[in-house]
């Protein structure tokens, strides 16, 4: 950057305090359940206790005459009045022109009509004057069911005669195939083949604020306003109208302050049609937000996959070929985006490694469980886990150092942009350097002495090494997540900037970071900027916030929009100061010529741009306004003839090293040291990056050890509240040593790659590696998740039937 350019860089790269915290710290932030509207009534849902049953009848009479009740409806009422839920995330039932992926959707109304397919599916809704009496009335609804056989195993459901959807020929909702190169032959001829089947357990994101919807229909204006704690505000107007079967109503979707999303609010849920319908029908504002017990069954889950990987290695440890088989337990086929899980996992098993021969088959199978959807780094946690486990097991088989076998297979730094075997174009990276740095910073060699000493005292300590590559900022054909983003900036009459973006802020500091970026581009003070997201009255865009696309497309759209305004301001100032525009600079709200004497403030230029327009250059329009779109670079909507597709735009990566002690008596894991080296490209705000990485790692540790959604064979969920679904508390979170590398994203003006998700990938693969290393004396393989104490204890117990290590 030229010298003038460098002194312009004032905010980006600085640890600016989060603007969003100003109101949260004083209890002033307004979340959905804080909204109060006059005449607002409350909706309560009656949910099925059965996992799979025909609905014989729903008796609403008890609820109808319960005190304070306004109206009661059942599935049949809604079936008559509305259409099936629109097939989010796609705008059409058959979005793909290529043979694979093969995908179908089911007709779900916003209340169950013929039968219930998972515990907690809503069969009726009660509307009452207040929440307390609504809860009483919900209890008065009598529904009779005729139980049907329950399926809770995805692999068995693939071939089971019992259909969850009678009009389907089997229980497979999604199928994907990929094949490149003579894989079978190469596997046969490989020096060594490592084959394992990994059972990855179901868990979920549980944002502290659950989902909720408020709808208010204003008949005179024919305007339906929907407040929704959602990550897809801009998809909802179309989804709601299509599902209501109406064209006439104007819809405005507003995201109030959101209390966390993590992907659980990226999806189209039945309440997002039901509550608007109730308001349209009753012409009153209607509010609903889920209780935690409701959230555990009515919001989607994720991660449950059974993945078989067979990888061939040469004698020196190079990968020859890989064969993968992925089965995703999709639960009920609600339109919440679960179909992409199988695709992402199958596409990225090769991960950061040079692989040219790869074959994969992947299935999304429906079962009698809550729907599966996206969750922080979905598909990437699973694919990175299985491949890193295979690399560790190959290192052991070939007697190679675990870091060394990875370095021998990494995509080298000079190969970027690198088109991987499944078609994705990795933007930039220095993988080997990152892993080496992590191993050094963790002091692995000195830890070895510690481990030896501990072993002499009969204690099990080990080091885990893990590398992860995270595809981010994605798109799909004929879909709401079509990969571009929009930013609209207006500098007003007094020189304040008003930014509107199509993204959604749910704790990732969008207001702060966008303010930093635009303040630098416009040369104004960060406190003269206000940022709006999640209001479809202010802007129209595609879907919302997912896969850290903010860092790639939203920041870029904002930079481009800001530059159009900067250019115009400089032109106006040049005209007024009689100085050539491109010799002017803006700093701290002052536009000045190189001599430093002649200058004009942004406020004066703005005044002229709107009021004294007579002083504008000839033919120039009034106002200071920029509205730009930015498309995901290095991606394509369609697969090539070999079925290769590039759906992701940028690829941050990280290396994690964990030093743990395993208590053989209880199976508990104590994390003594956790070191990470992250490369998420340029960083707008290093403090926010560190917090996002730390939060991601906490999510990863929860998923690796504590969180688990267990269904019994009747399809009953064993942990449906926070006393049995265990989110890590402050006591379970180890201190972290976070280090960084910066390899900019080459195809965007900002060069940012995103740090919001990658933390969630590290812990399961790194802790599995550490536990396996700690228990080397017992020759244990760590395959399945979670690494909960009982599972680790059982590994030790079975390996030491002789009771040697089962010491207390």
């Amino acid at each position: 950057m030229s010298s003038r350019e460098s002194n312009r860089r004032k905010y980006v790269g600085q640890e600016v305090r989060r603007k969003e915290s100003a109101d949260a710290l004083v209890g002033g932030a307004e979340y959905l359940s804080d909204i109060r509207l006059p005449r607002m009534a409350y909706a309560g849902l009656v949910r099925s206790p059965y996992a799979h049953a025909r609905i014989k009848n729903v008796d609403l009479s008890g609820a109808r005459n319960s005190p304070g009740v306004i109206a009661v409806y059942s599935g049949d009422d809604l079936k008559r009045a509305t259409k099936p839920l629109a097939p989010f995330p796609f705008t059409a039932q058959q979005p793909y022109s290529s043979k694979y992926p093969k995908l179908r959707f089911a007709d779900h109304y916003c209340l169950a009509t013929d039968k219930v397919r998972h515990v907690g599916e809503a069969v009726a809704v009660v509307v009452a004057e207040d929440r307390y009496r609504c809860a009483d009335a919900v209890q008065e609804v009598r529904a009779d069911y005729e139980p049907l056989p329950v399926m809770v195993d995805a692999e068995k459901a693939m071939t089971h005669p019992q259909k969850i959807y009678e009009d389907w020929d089997n229980n497979i909702q999604y199928e994907y195939r990929f094949s490149e190169g003579p894989v079978a032959e190469l596997l046969r001829k490989s020096h060594a083949v490592v084959k394992e089947t990994f059972n990855l357990h179901r868990y979920t994101g549980t944002p502290m604020e659950g989902r909720g919807v408020i709808a208010d229909f204003n008949r005179p204006k024919n305007l339906l306003t929907v407040w929704d704690s959602t990550q897809i505000p801009h998809a909802l107007p179309n989804l709601i109208l299509e599902s209501l079967g109406r064209e006439d109503v104007k819809i405005r979707v507003v995201c109030p302050r959101i209390g966390g999303g993590f992907g659980i609010k990226w999806g189209f849920h039945s309440e997002e049609v039901l509550i608007p319908w109730l308001s349209l029908t009753l012409e009153r504002p209607i509010a609903w937000w889920e209780t935690r017990s409701e959230h555990m069954v009515a919001s989607h889950h994720s991660r449950e996959q059974k993945i078989t990987v067979e990888a061939g290695f040469s004698a020196s440890g190079e990968i020859t070929a890989i064969k993968g088989r992925v089965i995703v337990d999709l639960g009920v086929a609600y339109p919440c985006g679960g179909t992409s899980l199988a695709f992402v996992t199958a596409n990225f098993i090769p991960g950061p490694y040079r692989v040219s021969n790869y074959e994969a088959e992947a299935y999304g199978v429906v079962t009698n469980k809550s729907a599966s959807g996206v969750l922080r780094a979905n598909g990437k946690v699973e694919s990175n886990y299985v491949m890193e486990r295979i690399m560790d097991l190959a290192a052991r088989r070939l007697n190679l150092d675990r870091a060394e076998i990875r370095r021998r297979n990494f995509v080298p730094p000079d190969a970027f942009p690198y088109t991987c075997v499944t078609g994705s174009i990795y933007d930039s990276g220095r993988y080997g350097e990152c892993l080496t740095k992590a191993v050094e910073l963790a002091g692995v060699s000195s830890l070895r002495e510690d481990i030896a000493k501990a072993a002499r005292e009969g204690r099990y300590r080990g080091i885990g090494i893990g590398f992860m590559l995270e595809p981010l900022s994605s798109l799909r054909p004929n879909a709401y997540n079509s990969g571009y983003e929009t930013a609209q900036i207006r500098v007003d009459q007094v020189g304040k900037a008003w930014i509107v973006s199509g993204d959604v802020n749910m704790g990732q500091a969008h207001q702060t970071t966008l303010s930093q970026i635009v303040a630098d581009e416009l040369g104004i003070d960060i406190n003269d900027i206000e940022v709006f997201e999640g209001d479809t009255a202010l802007l129209s865009s595609n879907s919302g916030s997912y896969a850290c696309r903010f860092s790639t497309v939203t920041t870029s759209a904002a930079i481009m929009a800001a530059r159009t305004i900067r250019e115009k301001m400089l032109k106006i100032a040049g005209h007024l100061l009689q100085v050539d525009a491109d010799r002017l600079d803006i700093m701290g709200g002052i536009i000045s010529a190189p001599d430093g004497k002649t200058s004009i403030t942004v406020k004066e230029v703005a005044n002229i741009a709107y009021y004294s327009v007579n002083r504008l250059p000839k033919g120039m329009e009034p106002g200071l306004f920029g509205h730009r779109f930015f498309f995901n670079p290095n991606t394509s909507f369609t697969a090539d003839e070999k079925g290769r597709s590039a759906n992701f735009s940028t690829y941050p990566y990280a290396a994690h090293v964990a030093y743990v002690e395993v208590d053989p008596g209880t199976g508990q894991i104590k994390i003594l040291k956790y070191v990470t080296v992250d490369d998420c490209g340029n960083q707008v705000n290093p403090m926010v990056v560190r917090t996002q990485l730390t939060g991601g790692i906490a999510c990863g540790i929860g998923g690796a050890i504590y969180e688990e959604l267990v269904y019994d064979e009747d399809g009953q969920l064993a942990n449906s509240n926070f006393s049995s679904y265990l989110i890590p508390s402050m006591l379970e979170m180890p201190n972290l040593e976070l280090h960084h590398m910066i390899t900019p994203m080459p195809f965007t003006p900002g060069g940012f790659k995103g740090a919001g998700e990658i933390g969630a990938i590290g812990p399961s693969l790194t802790l599995a590696s550490a536990v396996e290393d700690a228990l080397t004396p017992l020759g244990i393989k760590v395959i399945d998740l979670p690494l909960k104490p009982e599972k680790v204890w059982r590994l030790i117990h079975e390996a030491t039937k002789g009771g040697k290590a089962g010491a207390t």
Partner: protein
Amino acid sequence: MIPSEFEYVRPNSLDEVLALMHERPDDCRVMAGGQSLLPMLKLRIIQPTLIVDLSKILGVSSIAVTPNGIEVGAMATERAIELSGDVRQKCPMLAETASVIADPHIRNLGTIGGSLCFADPRGDLPACILALDATLTAASTTGTRTIPATEFFVGPFTTALREDELLVGISVPAKSSRTGAYLKLSKRAGDFAVVAVAADIEWDRDRVCRAARVALCAAGPVPIVVRGMTELLGGSRLDDKKIEEAARHASDSTEPFEDPLVSADYRSAMIHTMVTRALRLTRERAGVNP
């Protein structure tokens, strides 16, 4: 998340409470700290018709040292017990147990009486007072009676109290020289126990075990006193072989229930592990090295 409707009364004196419990034994539900009761109300597992709030009955929340031990009022909060100098000095295991219950916010309101009458088999205090060989005092309109802790827990969530009886006090007998330990294995620090062990050992002058009591929580439908510990450990200095024997005996004499989140065989193995560790800690605290 929202309780069903009920009547609410907040009497000013113990006698008023006892009179109410006598008049309406079938539908009267007393609430001390409310920390176990509120989740049950919100999830509508319990739908009582009348709640009698005991928070104004202050007379029963004292902690007093007496010549033959410690008297703890039923309304004493878990936090008060945790921080009480008297308890830490006279009966450290009781303070240690209180300190591992849930979190500080819950302990600020939760009472020892409430926790014992709730009689959750996974509760910490029930197992603790069994190991301490405590006696409980119940009051009713017809007077008071004492119930040994070993006869108090009759079934899951079921105690020996009659419908019209209120627990008013817990007395822990002093022992000339005792050490104890309450060790809790739970998935997260604040959770209910996978298994917890309360161990209380009396030592004679030259540090030989004179009496041993070990109680377990979450090992069955009620908190369990493991039979025969004094016979097994008495006369020994709790050497590792004896401890191993005691741990195996404790594990063999219990049959934990199967639970989708914790399997029975794991819980049995953890009884073995935790009894061993609790007895070793108790030995260490007595300054005995075998």
